[in-house]
């Protein structure tokens, strides 16, 4: 195999892609299988970093940045803070129960995964649309958010506001004044 710049770039891109996929799957497995909750959150952050890489491959760098900013930067850090506030940890249970729960969950998850993957392999999707109405850049995304999806956009902001107020109300109730 000769290395012209084109094949070299394709090879580098493929290796990067495989690396991102490995990071996603590794992080997801750590997020669900590790014993301590801190490791679970770290695995989740790792998985989301890999997912941001895949978003780059799907030609949407804006979504990749949002993924890192919101998921890794906000949600994972918030979960970590909540764990520190409440000293959350999983208590160990008996060896037999751990194995039984693991096997049962694995069987149930396979019952979802295997049909899904078979369906993806066998189905032929509708052909790609021949006409693209826009190139899908950040400008197009912003224009769509403020015109066609304007109502949903505003509704999301109301949902976020209510979530902030609700979180404050729920977390404050029952707190004693001097403790």
């Amino acid at each position: 195999m000769t290395f012209t710049p084109d094949t070299l770039y394709a090879l580098i891109a493929a290796v990067l892609f495989a690396g991102f996929v490995a990071v996603i799957l590794l992080g997801a497995v750590v997020a669900v299988a590790a014993r301590s909750l801190v490791r679970n959150v770290t695995g989740l952050a790792l998985s989301f970093l890999g997912l941001a890489g895949l978003y780059y491959f799907l030609h949407s760098p804006f979504l990749a940045l949002m993924q890192i900013l919101i998921y890794v930067g906000a949600i994972c850090v918030t979960i970590m803070f909540a764990m520190m506030l409440a000293e959350l940890h999983e208590e160990s249970r008996s060896w037999l129960m751990t194995v039984l729960a693991g096997v049962g969950s694995f069987v149930a998850a396979s019952a979802f995964a295997i049909p899904l993957i078979l369906m993806v392999r066998r189905s032929s999707w509708m052909p790609a649309s021949s006409v693209q109405t826009n190139p899908g850049t950040i400008e197009d995304l912003g224009r769509a958010l403020l015109t066609r999806y304007g109502f949903a956009f505003e509704l999301i902001s109301v949902v976020l506001l209510l979530a902030i107020l609700g979180a404050l109300a729920v977390a404050r109730s029952g707190r004693k004044p001097n403790s």
């Binding site: 909750l37 694995f106 979802f112 609700g166 977390a171 029952g174």
Partner: protein, 108 residues
């Protein structure tokens, strides 16, 4: 070499999304604490958003559709995480535990 063109195939993305979804289901069933279940729920949402992004990029006439939907999923997930964590802190304050088996005051 087939490996080179993986990043340009719809099926590869769909399979990664399906695997993320299944791993999330696995964690949701296996974990016994509310935090663990929240983390698994985020993984399930991530699998769904990857599917939307892949279809939006490879099949849709308007590639903005998938991106906008994924942005909305991210926003909803942020709201969900905030509410779930505040409920968790309230539960911990009352029960001194977030294990799901300890939360059985309303058990019949």
């Amino acid at each position: 070499m087939n490996f080179i063109h993986w990043s340009e195939q719809l099926n590869v993305y769909l399979m990664i999304g399906a695997l993320l979804f299944a791993i999330g289901i696995f964690g949701f069933l296996r974990h016994r604490t509310l935090v663990g279940m929240l983390i698994s729920g985020e993984l399930i949402l991530a699998g769904a958003s990857l599917n939307f992004m892949a279809f939006g990029h490879f099949r849709a006439a308007d590639p903005v559709t998938g991106q906008a939907f994924t942005l909305f999923i991210i926003g909803i997930a942020a709201a969900e995480a905030a509410i779930a964590l505040s409920i968790m802190i309230a539960v911990y304050r009352n029960y001194r535990s977030i294990e799901t088996r300890d939360l059985k005051e309303m058990e019949g």
